[in-house]
């Protein structure tokens, strides 16, 4: 039995951070496997799923809308339903929202500008599967690069999500007009997380920050636990 838990990285037409995600996952102890979006099943022994960043289907109609209907997403939905950890990064977050696996929607940035820079992200909830290696209130430096990153929900839902600790990350400042400066959201059960910043681009201090490694390593822990629970 391998000691490296298998993490599936789903590739959509237009994904462009799939290989970075795989590389970063390997650097924190995972065995990454690229899975084409037309696959109807995940590889046997999958312990976690990553939906990577990019511009699936050229962002046609709405970001993530087409990709949310891919055959692989049916498998991801089933995997999430049985408690499997799922992480959506940037376009992956948009896809999870369009698939209604996460609440809300990502809209055009308030100033309609593509933002591409390092951002400071505050960990609002360090008790999730994905943030267990962080401390409460810890500030992470992670790159952001998106044109549609303004997360939105109606006010009633926002209040509920905040009360339940589902608004896991907030930007330290307003970067895109996101409601409450929210940068990442977890589902009610706690095993599906989406965030706009890119942890996979921040796993080596030589490139400015290794803070993303905290999140990805926690995902690898969660993958190992999920496989153990299923065994």
């Amino acid at each position: 039995m391998t000691t490296r838990p298998l993490v599936a990285v789903v590739q959509f037409p237009g994904s462009n951070d799939d290989h970075d995600a795989a590389w970063a996952l390997r650097s924190v102890g995972a065995e990454p496997v690229l899975v084409w979006h037309e696959e109807a099943t995940l590889p046997p022994g999958t312990g976690a799923v990553v939906l990577p960043g990019g511009f699936s289907y050229g962002d046609y109609l709405r970001t993530g809308a087409m990709a949310s209907l891919a055959p692989a997403m049916r498998a991801v939905r089933a995997f999430a339903a049985e408690g499997g950890p799922v992480l959506g990064i940037c376009n992956g977050f948009q896809i999870l929202c369009e698939a209604r696996l996460l609440p809300g929607v990502l809209r055009s940035n308030r100033e309609l500008e593509f933002v591409c820079r390092d951002a400071v992200i505050r960990v609002e909830n360090a008790g999730t599967l994905f943030t267990r290696r962080c401390s409460p209130g810890q500030e992470l430096v992670l790159p952001i690069k998106h044109g549609e990153g303004a997360w939105y929900v109606d006010e009633g839902t926002y209040v509920q999500l905040a009360a339940r600790g589902q608004l896991v990350f907030r930007y330290a400042e307003d970067v895109n007009g996101s409601l409450g400066n929210v940068a990442g959201v977890v589902d009610e059960r706690g095993n599906v997380l989406g965030l706009m910043p890119h942890p996979e681009h921040a796993v080596d201090p030589l490139l400015g920050s290794a803070d993303g490694g905290l999140l990805l390593a926690a995902l690898v822990d969660a993958a190992a636990e999920h496989l153990l629970a299923a065994a």
Partner: protein, 83 residues
């Protein structure tokens, strides 16, 4: 059977911020037009290959709910016509 034609209009819901509309409004003002507000939506012209009278509208509604519009931020309007 002749295809039925339909047009679906998708708009940002009332009260939802529309930065694209605001940018267009500012540009129109720069051109000298006296424009109060602009909202930018989307038009989809759809041909239904095989739809009876009864269920065409229902099919289009399902299309809107399942893909064409995001109910959180967009409203839709269906206009059904004949080919």
């Amino acid at each position: 059977m002749t295809p039925r034609k339909a047009t679906v209009l998708v708009r940002p819901k009332q009260g939802i911020l529309d930065p694209q509309g605001e940018a267009v409004q500012r540009s129109l003002r720069k051109l000298g037009f006296d424009v109060g507000s602009v909202r930018v939506g989307r038009v989809l012209d759809i041909e239904l290959d095989d739809a009876g009278d009864g269920d065409a509208h229902e099919q289009l509604e399902r299309m809107c709910r399942e893909l064409l519009a995001n109910p959180l931020i967009e409203s839709f309007e269906i206009r059904l016509g004949d080919a």
